[in-house]
């Protein structure tokens, strides 16, 4: 697909490799489609009507691992790489270390995704939560992550002895953390530490993946895109500092809260609970900062779909954090742990927050990348509303299901009674999944029609000026 860059050759104007950004976005959205279909297929297992019964390669347990992995490493990672390739050169005024390396990373990453999916379906999954990537693929991932870090840290370092802009704090830390947590989570519990000590490391890994890979890169992108779209600076630099350093201090300590009341020594569990509540307090400052950036111009949420996506994600983020501070309490854990409550929480975080931020970024960038105005703003609105309503419904449904399950378990109801009580919630979950899928299909159609429409350079510059 040829990319029309109205203002010159690839990378000329602002060091952005537009074709690469586009490639990462397309790959990420393809991964999203696979992720939604596998998730929906798995949801049907809970209604006793699985789509592919008796086929070993499409067994529900394996398909579930494809669902989580393709969304984390295919959808989120790909589009975040697109966002980094757009934002870092524009903030630093410098190109990435090497465009060749960028393209190598792009293709290596897609090979990793394909190998992960095929490996899992063939029965070679690694038994580590969020690290199901087969053991033989892990070294390639490590090389890729280190290459990503070097590629982006180079322009950040070269931008001189000046203070870094907020977005670059988050990028720098996230790029350093990601290879470290991948190394820790995929190797230590696999080869060195069994049982409870391994579970402590696994807990750190599960949480660091969200807190030290997805979260910092996500906030970094927001600290770039929100001021750019709003055409006004972030409200308070001092509050940004509190938010970043508080996150950097508290987030790495959280992990063991995934295994509360387990045989892991209790001091580690208490520490994780306290640190989790610490994170939630710190995150509130970031929320206030972004909300205050909007002051007096909340009408922008009506006009600008990218902003609407991003701020809906921010509101979901706050709900997530309040929920997290609450559910991490040992008393609440006795009921909600092991239930669909946690599944609802995970969907709210991974899709409701980071997925929504990604939709905001893609909605902002796509017309500029293909050099054409949106084919249909109306379809984009449908995309927003179907996804928002579907996600909200799914999360509320799963949280409610979790409470029902948790109390029935505590009250020693027979296991089958808890399954029967869950059945209507599981049906509702699949219905909300359909709403989300339909929203994305409309989005894909719109992306395609936009890219295929006749180029209109004037319209683009007008649209860009109006955005």
């Amino acid at each position: 697909m040829a990319v029309a860059d109205a203002r010159g050759k690839e990378g000329d104007f602002d060091h952005v490799l537009r074709r690469l950004v586009l490639a990462h976005i397309v790959a990420g959205l393809a991964a999203l489609l696979i992720g939604l279909l596998t998730g929906l297929a798995f949801a049907f297992q809970f209604m006793q009507s699985y789509w592919f019964p008796g086929i070993e390669w499409l067994s529900p347990g394996r398909v579930r691992m494809v669902h989580t992995n393709i969304l984390a490493y295919g959808f989120i990672a790909n589009v975040f790489l697109a966002g980094l390739h757009w934002a870092v050169p524009r903030i630093t005024g410098r190109p990435v270390l090497s465009p060749g390396l960028s393209w190598f990373i792009f293709w290596a990453w897609q090979v990793v995704l394909a190998a992960t999916g095929i490996g899992i379906l063939a029965g070679h999954a690694q038994a580590i939560e969020w690290g199901e990537t087969p053991i033989f693929v892990d070294p390639v991932v490590m090389v890729g992550l280190i290459a990503v870090a070097i590629n982006f840290l180079a322009p950040i370092v070269k931008s001189g002895r000046k203070p870094l802009y907020v977005a670059l704090w988050y990028f720098t830390a996230g790029l350093v953390w990601t290879p470290l947590i991948y190394l820790m989570g995929n190797y230590v519990p696999q080869f060195y530490l069994p049982g409870a000590s391994g579970a402590a490391v696994s807990g750190l890994f599960i949480h660091d993946l969200v807190g030290l890979f997805v979260t910092p890169l996500g906030w970094g992108l927001l600290y770039y895109f929100v001021p750019v779209i709003m055409k006004r600076p972030i409200w308070s630099h001092a509050v940004s500092l509190i938010g970043f350093w508080g996150l950097a201090f508290f987030y790495p300590l959280n992990g063991v809260h995934h295994y509360l009341w387990s045989p892991i020594p209790m001091f580690a569990q208490y520490g994780a609970v306290v640190a989790t509540i610490g994170v939630e307090i710190v995150v509130t400052t970031v929320f206030i900062n972004f909300l205050a950036t909007l002051r007096g111009q909340a009408g922008a949420l009506v006009q600008s779909l990218p902003l609407r996506w991003i701020y809906t994600g921010i509101i979901f983020y706050v709900i997530t954090c309040i929920q997290c501070a609450y559910q991490t309490l040992l008393t609440v854990q006795t009921i909600v742990h092991f239930t669909d409550w946690v599944v609802g929480h995970a969907h709210l975080v991974m899709f409701g927050v980071f997925g929504f931020w990604i939709f905001g970024i893609v909605t902002e960038l796509w017309p500029r990348l293909v050099g054409r105005p949106w084919h249909s703003v109306r379809l984009n609105r449908w995309h927003y509303w179907l996804t928002t309503v579907g996600t909200s419904f799914m999360v509320i449904d799963l949280v409610a299901a979790g409470l029902v399950q948790g109390y029935l378990w505590r009250d020693l109801a027979p296991w089958e009674a808890t399954l029967r009580a869950s059945a209507p919630f599981w049906t509702a979950r699949a219905i909300s999944g359909f709403a989300i899928l339909l929203g994305q299909i409309l989005f894909f159609v719109n992306l395609w029609l936009t890219a295929r429409s006749s180029p209109a350079p004037e319209a683009v510059s007008v649209a860009a000026a109006a955005a």
């Binding site: 069994p194 580690a268 009250d411």
Partner: protein
């Protein structure tokens, strides 16, 4: 210039030091507490062949002989290895946890509360704690159900537990040799049963099940009605612990 905004500070303090400190407190310290616990190799685990494994050999003699020979410690070790590999490949651990918490009446539902020492073996490398229970916890499974219950359950869970949402694992079975025969468990089928029957075999088991077995459950419609009785939870407690109703 504020040092908190410098590349070097962010790289060294936020990127490395904070991360390292967290790993030290939340992973290295727990390891220091637990490192003295003895670590069991596979041959140590399999030294004693349990009655469930001998029962598998007697119940499925042809399949067992073909895949494992005789029920020796060596064959048991091999079965446990294939069993855990199957458990990982099918991601059983995504829907079944392997630890009993000291809360939420779990010791009455599943059995003794878990303790760190029982996880110090190669079959918990990587650990199989799990974070979700679509199905029940499995760490106290040994002897709870018979081998043929498990075999029937793996073949088609809903034949045994009507409201189950567990996948059926037809590929754990060889097709019947004769046209009118029944499918026999293959190596994976025998091994996964041996593995599940191993879970908790080291812990003291109560003489009677903690909860009444609910295998002949009512049909879906009746079941839904049963679940909707005015106070299912209260009724269940009364049914579960006769004479101890609150």
């Amino acid at each position: 210039m504020n040092p908190l905004e410098r590349f070097g500070t962010i790289l060294l303090v936020a990127g490395l030091a904070f991360f390292g400190a967290a790993v030290a407190v939340e992973a290295w310290l727990p390891y220091q507490v637990l490192r003295g616990l003895p670590m069991q190799r596979l041959d140590e685990i399999a030294r004693q062949v349990p009655p469930e494994f001998e029962d598998l050999a007697a119940r499925y003699p042809d399949a067992f002989r073909r895949h494992f020979g005789a029920p020796t410690p060596e064959a048991y070790a091999r079965a446990l290895q294939i069993g855990i590999e199957t458990y990982r490949a099918e991601a059983c651990w995504h829907c079944h946890s392997q630890f009993v918490r000291p809360v939420s009446n779990e010791d009455r539902r599943f059995g003794a509360v878990s303790y760190p020492g029982e996880y110090q073996n190669v079959l918990q490398l990587p650990q199989m704690f799990g974070t979700r229970r679509v199905g029940p916890d499995l760490i106290r499974s040994a002897g709870k159900h018979s081998n043929d219950w498990h075999v029937a359950h793996f073949f088609e869970p809903r034949d045994v537990v009507p409201s189950s949402v567990m996948p059926s694992f037809k590929w754990f079975f060889d097709p019947p040799a004769a046209p009118d025969g029944v499918p026999q468990p293959n190596a994976r089928g025998l091994a996964i049963v041996a593995y599940v029957q191993w879970l908790g075999s080291w812990a003291e088991q109560p003489d009677a099940p903690l909860l009444p077995e609910v295998t002949a459950a009512p049909g879906p419609a009746e079941g839904a009605a049963a679940a909707m009785t005015p106070d299912p939870a209260e009724g269940a407690v009364a049914a579960a612990v006769p004479g101890e109703a609150p």
